[in-house]
Symmetry: C2
Subunit: 267 residues, 2 copies
């Protein structure tokens, strides 16, 4: 089993990812695809006069401030636009894809954070109207049912809280929990960089291999959204996934290249 | 088996519909829910500077002009917003709902109309960049799989064409083809009127009963969107569904009241 997460930043080729998923599925590889949609969410939020607001937790992790109105915009983009673009393209390529967000059949479930502590303009604040959470549980029964009958699940946030509210969760961490729940051999996390870089401004400074036991010491190189990816890698490895590859979504055959070791391979 | 279609017009209570679905599912009723989203689509289209355009076919049936940009807005609202609101509310009420559009697993499939002939400002025109179609095929295998494992499918347009393009299809006709494919006992079509009215301006002019064989002669009373509902009723009855009820979505327990005969009952 392979779990593939593809980011939602600018410059990522949906088509190359879908072509590669199709090639793997036709070789009877069991595969789950998880995708993002952050760039398009920023575009729609701005068009609707509600520009995105990012907050940084006191531990230094950045996330989207998600009140209920933002959550509905988020869901429109992730589920209604990006997910359907992936499913439509996969169907064209002969993959019987089924798009689900975490709310559907409680496929991705977690705890809503009742209050999040953030630092904004140097000041500590507590946000209470934020619908974000942390993925903890996967409905493997539903996803297995689909896989066993020839369907390829295409998953995305939002997830569902234990109180059955939609919640914004990080897609990388969701993919990590999915990979762990299925005891996947490999988790591939694709984004618009070649992998983890020693110098974020220098694409040739790629770190090609990291031993699982040393991963924590590489956290210092993870900037911005890469932090979620390295944290996701850690969660997946701790959950029993044997290999995580941080790969480049901008390549041709981005998944197969990552599986062949292109990117940052962590094991 | 019951198929329930709930419209997407203003004034329809999502909550009352979900409460009623929950009551029926808890009594082990097999149920498929199909919903619309036309009002919200108009709102988002307008907010994004692409106000809706409705066209009338030469046979007098009105539909939304759906170029690719409109289709993506349509999908954002139907799948990303409305579908998730239904699924979230149903999950809160203890129903393990799974939201799917017709593209997912090819659940609702049909032929795209290569060109549609319309009348606009009194002139005949042919539109070729329109992504609308006619529902012809249902993936009953996927929906049965979900129902047999305790999930309640919540379905909406867009559907998928034989060439695997997303297409806008009429929700009432989709529900009719679904009901026929499952040999449903009853198709309930709920909207923001009491049923088929003799006089569209007078809610007391409800036609309570129609014999299936006489339905065609009642077509003259169907104005605007009601035309799709009566055509859907006809398709369902011809497809083997025993009863169709055109009910009022604005009531408490709108589905159970329709099943008890409130509205226009056609058999």
């Amino acid at each position: 089993m392979i779990v593939v997460k593809v980011g939602g930043s600018k410059g990522i080729s949906l088509d190359a990812v879908c072509q590669d998923v199709s090639a793997l599925v036709q070789r009877d590889e069991r595969l789950l695809l998880v995708h993002g949609g952050s760039h398009e969410t920023n575009v729609l939020s701005t068009a609707l006069g509600k520009p995105p607001r990012f907050v940084t937790s006191i531990s230094g992790v950045e996330s989207r401030y998600t009140d209920r109105a933002t959550l509905e915009i988020f869901s429109m983009v992730y589920v209604g636009k990006m997910n359907k673009l992936f499913v439509e393209r996969l169907q064209q390529l002969g993959v019987n894809a089924v798009g689900l967000c975490g709310v559907d059949g409680r496929s991705i479930e977690g705890a809503r954070k009742a209050a999040i502590k953030v630092v904004e303009d140097g000041k500590r604040k507590v946000l209470r109207d934020d619908f974000t959470g942390r993925v903890e549980r996967i409905n493997t029964e539903l996803l297995t049912l689909l896989l066993d009958h020839g369907y390829t699940p295409v998953l995305c946030p939002p997830a569902i809280s234990y109180e059955s509210e939609m919640i914004n969760v990080d897609g990388d961490r969701a993919a990590a929990v999915l990979a762990a729940a299925f005891h996947a051999d490999t988790l591939v996390i694709l984004s618009n960089v070649p992998g983890l870089l020693r110098d974020v401004k220098d694409e040739t400074s790629l770190i090609p291999h990291i031993q699982k036991s040393h991963l924590k010491s590489f956290m210092e190189f993870a900037q911005g959204r890469m932090k979620h990816k390295v944290m996701g890698a850690m969660e997946a490895l701790e959950g029993g996934v044997s290999t995580v590859v941080l790969g480049d979504a901008r390549l041709e055959q981005p998944i197969q290249q990552a599986l062949q070791g292109r990117g940052t391979v962590i094991r």
